[in-house]
């Protein structure tokens, strides 16, 4: 249900976010899960090689606060850690992992994002927040596979 953008002309709008999806990922612990989720952004060309480890360090240094809500982690690091484009990836784990979060463990769904500067992602992430409030996590959990994960995520993001 994406409405055509108003006055869309070739090349006139900012490029939409890069979208990636990984299904059935296996991870022994939260670090592997975070690396796996961030790796999808590297593979999609949206983030540099150092990005996955930077995302792990965010949790090591700041705690498991990235587990935003029950079962869902928002994996990210600062733009200067390797954000090349605005990218959002969804990773569904084969088996959930514990982050050590007091309320929201265990985590079975990871949304990773990257951005080239501190502002470029705001529109995309705002759209993601709205979609999550509207039940996106459950739709992703019910997805039939990797392609379905990707198309559900795309539908949720403005301009994707």
């Amino acid at each position: 249900m994406t409405a055509p953008s108003e006055g869309a002309a070739t090349g006139s709008a900012a490029p939409g976010p890069v979208v990636a999806a990984t299904d059935g990922a296996t991870a022994a612990d939260w670090r592997e899960a975070v690396r796996r989720a961030a790796r999808a952004l590297v593979d999609a060309g949206a983030a540099g090689e150092g990005y996955p480890e930077a995302c792990v360090r965010v949790v090591e240094e700041n705690g498991p606060y990235i587990v935003l809500t029950k079962g869902l982690a928002l994996v990210h690091a600062r733009p200067e850690e390797g954000g090349l484009a605005v990218g959002v990836g969804v990773t569904r784990l084969a088996a959930p992992v514990e982050f050590g979060h007091p309320d929201n463990d265990p985590v079975d769904l990871l949304l990773a994002f990257c951005t080239p500067d501190p502002d470029a992602h705001v529109g995309t992430l705002s759209g993601l927040a709205r979609a999550l409030s509207g039940g996106l996590a459950d739709r992703l959990r019910a997805a039939s596979g990797e392609d379905d994960l990707a198309s559900i995520l795309k539908e949720a993001l403005p301009n994707a």
């Binding site: 935003l68 809500t69 928002l74």
Partner: protein
């Protein structure tokens, strides 16, 4: 409303650009429902230390570090739980006399 200016609200997280942005949006929705005129910003915990908002919202692992930053410090565990945040805001803002 009892406060004669816009309420300054800060949503905090570790990096200050992802989770706290989501929290900011949840807070804006909750404040709209409460009819409170407020400006919500999001930032990381270290930047927050240099600021003087009326209200700080974050997870316990962060609000514990900045418990004296603002008259009202609200701890939440679910960044997307608008109803839960709205209930806490209603109670705490009423305590301060900022919400009639």
């Amino acid at each position: 409303m009892a406060l004669d200016r816009q309420l300054e609200i800060l949503a905090v997280c570790g990096v200050g650009m992802g989770s706290s942005l989501m929290l900011k949006m949840t807070a804006e929705d909750a404040l709209r429902s409460l009819g409170v005129d407020a400006r919500v910003e999001n930032t990381d915990v270290s930047t927050a230390r240099g600021m003087s908002p009326d209200v700080v919202i974050g997870q316990g692992m962060h609000t514990g570090e900045i418990a004296d930053l603002a008259p009202v410090v609200i701890t939440i565990s679910d960044f997307l739980d608008k109803e839960g945040l709205e209930a806490q805001l209603r109670e705490r803002l009423t305590e301060q006399g900022w919400l009639a």
